[in-house]
């Protein structure tokens, strides 16, 4: 076994036993990146020198010497943070995001910044202004997105784990496409301070890892109340129970809800079969299956595509060419400078969403769109609340199909948007959700199982996911690169 193939848990143990050193581990990963990233194209920036300098900063932390990749929308002090956009191509933050700071405080090492859809808007990582990241299982196919770089880097062993961010499925969907574990924590569990905002009421940072246990280890490190984020939950909610202690227990009697609205037309038959088998496997492990209803599921995608762009239209107003980031040349006056800078600095999908959101918030349309969407969002939250009266977790496919071909959906935004149909609801409702490997199609493409939990009950989600994972070997398979 190569050092770069280690899980975080295995690496921690090897380091503890002195069977490898942080330096050796780091160099193994840097060589791995050197060897295959030209194929996968997961990294926007590789921070080899910074990583070497970081080694030994903290030798007794929970993550000492563990090299990790970070999605390029989390601010890293002194390291370029681009959001895969021309707008921020040369932006070097003067401060560190809370989530990443917590990793460094625990001794982890920054390997580099990972590619994504521009400003996290997309489901394929094709909307990166720089390059498309390729799915390690089939380079012609997309990684999913927007955290495609993070999922691909973990799947291809270029980092032991990574952080992604999830606004409508941006951690879970690429995790499913790349056969890794992606966790979107409860809204408020992890600080958003330093995460470049896409849609503030939906964004949440979470781990992308090779195993469920690694997910628990990283969540331990990054969760907790942050006084710099008003929307982060109080410490008694956001802070740990040690998530690694919740896993490894059996799931006898665990009530698993199966929402009938998620097994619908448009769900690929093969993906459906694989997911139904996975859910049966949960039953075989002692869980009790309960059919539940989430009646407002149909509205989740339209509601999301009003709320998320509305917030984005305001969040992205700061990229105006005045203070930092891209400024177009040759503007005739202030208005011209704004228009040119934003027209040239943003990609098509970002501009589409800014326009959608600007329209939805405009006077005369606000009530019909934004306000109405917020009301429906409340109903979607209530759906989950009601369902969780009867079940402990909800199981569903993560995505309606396996990874699609590059270019397949770029010309049809609605098709692209529907690829998040099963993940968006958890963002709207704020619940935690995980995607974990649950099989492969006949073409050898990974399929993900999604488990959604109650607010702040990641423990149960991780426990169920871990029980399933340990009874299968999907997570041990590696793409041939």
């Amino acid at each position: 076994m190569q050092l770069y193939e280690l899980t975080i848990k295995q690496a921690i143990e090897l380091l503890k036993k002195g069977e490898t050193s942080p330096k050796e581990l780091l160099e193994a990963l840097l060589s791995r990146i050197e060897a295959i990233d030209s194929k996968v194209k997961a990294f926007v920036t590789v921070t080899a020198d910074e990583a070497r300098a970081q080694l030994g900063n903290k030798t007794d932390g929970a993550l000492s010497g563990i090299p990790l990749g970070i999605k390029d929308n989390m601010c890293t002090k002194g390291v370029r943070t681009t959001c895969s956009s021309r707008m921020l191509e040369n932006f070097v933050p003067p401060y560190e995001s809370t989530a990443t700071q917590k990793l460094w405080d625990a001794g982890a090492v920054l390997l580099g910044k990972l590619n994504m859809d521009e400003f996290a808007m997309g489901s394929s990582t094709e909307h990166s202004a720089f390059f498309r990241t390729c799915n390690p299982w089939d380079l012609k196919r997309v990684t999913g997105g927007s955290s495609g770089g993070s999922a691909a880097a973990v799947a291809s062993d270029m980092c032991l784990g990574a952080l992604g961010s999830d606004t409508g499925g941006s951690i879970r969907q690429p995790a499913a496409f790349c056969s890794v574990v992606g966790l979107k924590p409860t809204y408020g569990r992890v600080s958003r301070f330093g995460l470049v905002a896409f849609a503030s009421s939906l964004d949440q940072i979470g781990p992308i890892t090779k195993t469920v246990e690694d997910s628990a280890i990283l969540l331990n490190a990054i969760c907790g109340h942050d006084p710099q984020d008003s929307t982060s939950a109080p410490e008694d909610m956001a802070g740990t129970p040690d998530f690694t202690k919740q896993i490894g227990r059996d799931i006898k009697g665990l009530r698993v809800g199966v929402p009938k609205e998620y097994f619908i037309e448009g769900l690929d038959a093969e993906v459906e079969k694989i997911n139904r088998d996975a859910i049966k496997q949960l039953e075989a492990l002692g869980a009790e299956l309960v059919e539940v209803s989430l009646p407002h599921t149909d509205y989740a995608v339209p509601v999301y595509y009003i709320i998320a762009p509305s917030e984005a239209s305001s969040n992205l107003a700061r990229y105006d060419g005045v203070k930092y980031g891209f400024r177009a040349e040759g503007a005739s006056d202030l208005m011209d400078m704004y228009m040119k800078s934003r027209s040239e600095g943003f990609g098509a999908e970002v501009k589409r969403r800014i326009m959608l959101g600007t329209y939805a918030l405009s006077s005369g349309y606000y009530d019909a769109y934004y306000l109405k969407a917020q009301q429906v969002r409340t109903l979607i939250k209530k759906d989950f609340h009601d369902a969780f009266k009867h079940v402990d977790v909800i199981a569903s496919p993560t995505t309606p199909e396996a990874a699609f071909l590059a270019g397949e959906k770029t010309s049809d935004p609605i098709k692209m948007y529907l690829s998040d149909i099963f993940t968006i609801s958890a963002n709207l409702a704020g619940n935690p959700g995980i995607s974990l490997p649950c099989g492969f199609t006949k073409n050898g493409l990974p399929v993900g199982l999604q488990l959604i939990g109650k607010h702040f009950d990641e423990a149960t989600v991780l426990k169920a996911a871990h029980a399933y994972e340990q009874s299968t070997d999907w997570h041990t398979r590696k793409p041939a690169l």
């Binding site: 239209s313 107003a317 700061r318 005045v322 203070k323 202030l334």
Partner: protein, 516 residues
């Protein structure tokens, strides 16, 4: 209400003016509303900034509790209802001095609503409704260099503001002026803002319309911006009334628009029409959780409110029986009122204290650009001086000499000491600070040093009186002939001859006796 309006000219009797004001008050917090940057006036450009106040990618606002407290304080002082549930909204527009591309303000659920304040115009009291008070963050400043370069200073960005919105209850420029001054007095009393219009910590936009007297519906309103001194509030509104009246008189129609007041030319000029108005696309700020204010906290804040100027003024009139002018003067500034009350507490006779404060003391303070918040003479020293006069140790004229010397002495003692007035001092804090420093300067010490005393020796007085009478036989003759006004002349001559060291009353009596 229109009956109160001044009939300025013929046109104004046909039309009634309706005025509503939006006042922005910078709150006097040490740090900004959503980050830890210091708030300071006049620092070098862009030195009071951080990633949050410069709108870096990924930063988040966190509300400064003090700003909420100050807003509630102000709301309570203006008899507002404090919202149990309130939230921030984003007001979206592009401008270089607005680094986030939106202002964090409040829209549907402001912190305070439905209040009022009372103003006094021409001896009558009028109640002006307060529609709402909401919190927001201030923008930076654009600086246009003469060379054509535009620069941005973000020091002011994020300074906490309160926007106090009135009902359209004012009818004359004078009422608007009185309203502004009252707002200033109240925010200064509460310590929530320094209320300085010239430095921009108090700013005002006015909504003005006119309508035929008797008409119930409002006329088309014009918003007036850029009114940056108390003087200009009345002037700008007066001009706008004249302009609107003349438009209507000529058969024209008022256009709904925003106009700027041009202070140099004393006119208003169109800035943008209604059609060009921004669509601010307000929506609840998802970065800030709604504020749920604990009623217990509101009651704590209410309990901590100072006695407000209207209450003070009435108490001074009724209980201390000082004049209406004096009561208004003393109650206008909290520091002045505290100084006055401290003097009365030390046994000063209220009317005498008020007279000294309004007269000699204010004259000296104005000359030195000081105020009662940093007055070099502490109240007890004035009380001792007044007592010296009342007990006849010195006369009123000598009192003035002693006072000025006392003032000079205290001032230089403070200047030579390490004590420095700080903007955070109230008058009471300042009094406490300078008391030990100026302890050696008192009325009695100065009287002794200058040798100022009032002669009580009747022999001396009689001698001086006799000399004056002997030198002025003609006047004595005329006085005896019934010209009583000459008494003042004789007294004056005696005072001059004795260098003012005798009691005028005794002199008066002695002259009467001699010539009677």
């Amino acid at each position: 209400m229109s009956a109160q309006a001044k009939p300025q000219d013929k046109a104004n009797q046909k039309y009634e003016t309706v005025i509503g004001l939006e006042v922005h008050a910078q709150m006097r917090t040490e740090t900004k509303i959503f980050c830890g940057c210091r708030v300071e006036f006049g620092a070098a450009p862009n030195t009071l900034t951080c990633p949050v106040s410069t709108g870096m990618p990924g930063v988040l606002p966190v509300l400064h509790r003090k700003a909420l407290e100050f807003s509630i304080r102000t709301g309570l002082a203006m008899d507002c209802k404090i919202a149990p549930f309130s939230r921030f909204a984003r007001k979206n527009y592009f401008y270089p001095d607005l680094p986030k591309g939106y202002q964090i303000s409040q829209y549907e659920l402001p912190i305070c609503e439905h209040g009022h304040i009372d103003i006094e115009v021409e001896g009558a009291t009028k109640r002006i409704g307060i529609t709402r008070i909401h919190m927001e963050d201030d923008a930076g400043k654009n600086i246009h260099d003469p060379s054509g370069v535009s620069l941005v200073d973000l020091n002011r960005t994020g300074t906490p503001l309160m926007e106090i919105v009135s009902e359209p209850d004012m009818r004359t420029p004078e009422e608007a002026g009185a309203y502004m001054r009252k707002i200033r007095t109240i925010v200064r009393y509460l310590g929530v803002s320094d209320g300085n219009m010239e430095q921009g910590s108090l700013r005002c936009d006015a909504n003005i319309s006119i309508r035929p007297v008797g008409q119930v519906e409002f006329g088309t309103k014009v918003e007036l911006k850029n009114i940056n001194s108390f003087r200009f509030v009345e002037r700008a509104i007066a001009y706008e009334i004249k302009r609107q009246t003349s438009v209507i008189e000529r058969g024209g129609e008022i256009v709904q628009e925003t106009r700027l007041y041009d202070t140099d030319r004393n006119i208003t000029v169109s800035m943008r029409a209604k059609e060009e108005a921004h669509d601010y696309r307000y929506f609840p700020d998802p970065d800030l959780v709604p504020m749920v204010v604990d009623p217990k906290w509101i009651e704590e804040i209410r309990a901590g409110l100072p006695e407000l100027p209207d209450v003070k003024r009435k108490r001074y009139l009724n209980d201390l029986e000082i004049s209406e002018d004096a009561a208004a003067f003393i109650s206008e500034e909290r520091a002045t009122a505290e100084w006055f009350e401290a003097a009365v507490d030390k046994g000063g006779e209220p009317k005498s204290v008020a007279n000294w404060m309004m007269g000699e003391l204010t004259r000296r303070l104005n000359d030195d650009k000081l105020s009662f918040a940093n007055c070099p003479v502490i109240p007890i020293k004035l009380v001792e001086l007044i007592n010296d006069i009342d007990s006849g140790k010195i006369n009123a004229r000598q009192g003035k000499t002693v006072f000025n010397s006392l003032y000079d002495r205290c001032k230089s003692m403070i200047e030579e000491s390490p004590v420095k007035p700080s903007p955070a001092d109230g008058s009471l804090a300042f009094i406490g600070k300078v008391e030990p420093v100026t302890s050696r300067a008192t009325s009695s010490v100065i009287r002794e040093e200058l040798g100022i005393k009032q002669s009580t020796d009747t022999g001396t007085i009689e001698k001086a009186v006799q000399e004056v009478l002997d030198k002025n036989p003609d006047e004595v003759e005329r006085f005896r002939g019934g010209d009583q006004k000459l008494m003042g002349f004789f007294v004056g001559q005696v005072m001059k001859a004795t260098r003012g060291e005798v009691d005028a009353k005794t002199v008066n009596e002695m002259i009467k006796k001699k010539l009677g």
